[in-house]
């Protein structure tokens, strides 16, 4: 008898605004502790929140990008709980009337397409950061992040495996990045996932107790944490100890490689939500929604279709290129500048990705300019350098940022296309390898390969291979 895994995701995404949600403090990452704070975001007595217009716009944009309905009347609520990262002791969030409801995200896992439903998207403020000091009776608080605008995207429990869940997050991330809603940097915490996981017998209608897992800060940890939790629960059910799966929140401890219980339902909070009296309800006009819809750029699902049709790429190639906004933009940039689409794809998916991985660089940190790659491809096409040499040149471009022509010139890597030069070398090679010439004349055609290798070796790979091969064969047949 089989079990199935049920996963629902709650994803917090920091919106790309200049200022915080309720005050004018900047939102940029990495400032000195508490540099981006003011009386309002510190929740000092007497201060009041005023909602940032751009937060509403971006939340609507997210809703439209994820096929949600926009709630033309929505409102902010207070979620009350005491914790030192929350200076007002309540989080301003949305409870019963979120800004967006319903929605669909399509994912594809192992060739199977699937629609994942989104329950809601709501606006809320981020909390501050606590630094726990070891061997000291103190903790430190940095409130720079408090009041950074977030949207929380809540999915339905439609995901059936950790793999699907990760794919869902990837698709979501690429859509949000493309639409300019968030930079989605997991390592900086601007995209954070919580997963609700439960297991049930196949065919069972009702859901069993679910466990919420928090604190997964990369795709690698996300999949590891969910698989671990899935395994933990499956084992309990398999050994008839399903009752031990209690409704609780568990934190992923990446160091220990396991989830640790944080709190159980018994000591769950009573958040005492009520409408935020300091803010008027958010009434959205259809005109605003329309104009945001018009600003929405082409999103990954549409882009994938277009890439396949226009550039004749394989599904796999399209997936990788469109899967990341920066990479997709880089690719299209080179094509727009005149690169042959297939050739550009090969170089980007081959050498570029390999080098990025080796140097541990993100797709947003490609050190090669689009123009430079196009120039390199032109050098190959025009026969100025061979493909093999081009690899060397590209690596140099990647490290130094220099132009390909300059590298070719400086290193003397230009392809030898002069007929007399190549002819002279071929004559030398043939004289030095009488045995191979003999073999060829006796019908061993593979001898050509060996001789060709010798020619390339003698020219340090700079001989135009096509030309060299033709001339060599002609000479042998003389």
């Amino acid at each position: 008898m089989g079990f199935e895994t049920i996963i629902g995701m709650e994803i917090h995404v920091e919106l790309e605004t200049k200022s915080k949600i309720f005050c004018s403090c900047p939102t940029t990452f990495g400032a000195a502790p508490n540099a981006h704070t003011c009386p309002v975001c510190l929740g000092l007595p007497g201060t009041l929140p005023v909602l940032n217009e751009e937060v509403v716009n971006l939340a609507i944009k997210a809703g439209l990008a994820l096929n949600c309905g926009i709630n033309y009347y929505n409102k902010m609520d207070r979620k009350n709980y005491f914790y030192p990262d929350l200076p007002k002791a309540y989080q301003i969030s949305q409870y019963d009337l979120p800004i967006c409801s319903g929605g669909i995200v399509e994912i594809e896992v192992e060739g199977v397409k699937k629609e994942i439903r989104i329950n809601r998207i709501h606006i809320e403020e981020d909390a501050g950061k606590l630094v726990h000091m070891e061997d000291e009776p103190h903790s430190l608080i940095d409130y720079n992040r408090v009041g950074v605008p977030l949207i929380e995207i809540v999915s339905e429990a439609d995901l059936r495996s950790p793999l699907e869940a990760v794919e869902y997050v990837k698709v979501l991330k690429s859509i949000l990045e493309y639409a300019g809603i968030s930079d989605c940097r997991m390592e900086q915490g601007s995209l954070r996932c919580d997963a609700n996981i439960s297991i049930r017998k196949v065919g069972q209608e009702t859901l069993n107790n679910k466990v919420e897992i928090k604190n997964m800060n990369s795709f690698k940890e996300l999949i590891k944490a969910m698989e671990k939790e899935e395994k933990r629960q499956r084992e309990l059910y398999t050994f008839g100890e399903g009752h031990k799966v209690i409704q609780e929140t568990r934190r992923w401890d990446s160091g220990k490689g396991r989830t640790v219980s944080m709190r159980t339902k018994e000591d769950a909070h009573d958040y005492r939500y009520f409408p935020e009296p300091d803010l008027t309800p958010i009434v959205i006009s259809s005109g605003l929604v329309q104009s945001i819809k018009e600003q929405l750029p082409e999103l990954p699902p549409a882009k994938k279709i277009r890439f396949t049709e226009e550039y004749h790429l394989t599904d796999k190639e399209v997936d990788i290129l469109v899967g990341d906004k920066s990479l997709g933009e880089f690719y299209e940039g080179t094509v727009k500048l005149g690169a042959e689409p297939k050739m550009a794809a090969n170089w980007i998916l081959g050498d570029l990705l390999r080098l990025l991985k080796e140097k541990e660089l993100g797709f947003d940190a490609i050190p090669v300019k689009e123009e430079a790659l196009v120039k390199l491809l032109k050098l190959i096409e025009s026969g100025k350098i061979s493909g093999k040499i081009a690899k060397e040149v590209f690596e140099e471009m990647f490290i130094t940022g220099n132009e390909p022509e300059a590298i070719v010139k400086e290193k003397g890597l230009g392809q030898i296309s002069g007929e007399d030069v190549i002819e002279k070398i071929i004559i030398d090679i043939l004289q030095a390898n009488p045995q191979s010439v003999e073999d060829f004349k006796n019908g061993k055609l593979q001898a050509v390969g060996y001789l060709m290798g010798q020619v390339m070796k003698a020219t340090k790979g700079q001989a135009n291979p096509q030309m060299a091969k033709e001339m060599l064969e002609a000479k042998l047949k003389e």
């Binding site: 009386p39 000092l44 009041l48 009350n80 030192p84 005492r272």
Partner: protein, 491 residues
Amino acid sequence: MQIATMTIDEIRVGIREQKFTAQEVVKALFQRIKKVEPEIGGYITLCEEDALQQAIIVDEKIKAGEKLGKLAGVPVAVKDNICTDGIRTTCASKMLEDFIPPYDATVVKKLKAEDAIIIGKTNMDEFAMGSSNENSAFKIVKNPWDTKRVPGGSSGGSAAVVAAGMAPLSLGSDTGGSIRQPAAFCGVVGLKPTYGLVSRFGLIAFASSLDQIGPLTRTVKDCALSLEVLQGNDPMDGTSVKEVKTKSYLDGLEEGVKGYKIGIPKGFLQKGLNEEIAKAIEDSIEKFKELGAIVEEIDLPITDAELSAYYIISSAEASSNLARFDGVRYGYRTEDFQKLDELMEKTRTEAFGGEVKRRIMLGTYALSSGYYDAYYNKAQKLREKIRQQYQEIFKTYDLIITPTTPSLPFLCGEKVNDPMEMYLGDIYTININLAKLPALSMPCGFSKEGLPIGIQLIGGEYTEDKILKAAFALEEELKLSTIIPEGKEEI
């Protein structure tokens, strides 16, 4: 200089015409304060040096012939729940005993921009919760008319200092009557503006959807003048009115009430109302008739249900607004604790007074899971109903008149042990906050014992001008504004 009885208008005109200097005003006032304050207890903090510095600046401006603000040289006392940059702001609570705000409330900024001089912070019920001023963590405020009696609350200090001649203008805050009730008890003019007319930025919140800042003064004209300075949209307060509805209240203040339609709620006179108050209100109504107003009875029940809605909403909001006081970042912190939870619990338990704790408990209960619909949600619906009722009435009527309080100032300690009895005293004022309307309380007579009686004039949204015109007309008839408590006239 008879500083004790001087109005804002007299002070600002005198300074402008150089009959006296701003420094003379401030010095005279502090002399007066030193004499009277020990008996009254209206101030928590006095800023004599700062005030003198400010006075010097005003005097220099006059000498230099520079443009002067509307309130140049006028001393102002500010309720101690309104933030003042660099001046301790305590909310009369042990919790904020040493709290010094890093910014000025918008109203304080506006006063300073008009060259007014902040002289001190007034005593109040802790976090503005109370109707007697007995909930101050520091000291009780006494009613200047009879020091055995309470001055009302929660702006008791603000009302008492104006009544006792220790400030010509004070700021109060009104959540359910906290300006009007002490104004009535102390025989001064107090206005609660329409919700949104005056910025709340910098007012330490009690109940965000009900709180409004307003002036307490000796005369209606002073009230009008002060409101002109305090009002207006504030980008720091998302609930302050956006469109320009601000008016000049001095213009046409003397126009009178001829043709005004005034509604008197049917049956309010019977509702456990003190007889002397009833008589004084009836006399004032007669005066309005004589002045040409049309007075009619209206159907506007004043019920216990409304009082319930008020206490639920205000306590619920308060429970959330006061949660930030936990001893972690600022304010009082308990000495002895092991874990963070203990730090928060003990801090709050030690630093909040009984009434504050009671309201936090009540509010937490009303919002807690399982009770939200029965209490908070129902109260909100009731509030909406009340608001619509008033809106309907103000389609036909210019004003509604009621007493401000059902009883005369009571004795200190008389009601401290019965919170419900204390809450019932707010029956005439709380509806106005629920409906977000403006209302003014002014003296309309004295009891046989010589205690002041207040009358409440209520208007439709943003009709402070009508209220002030009517109040001015009544004041002209009654001539009560120059009377100050016996034995307190001389400097």
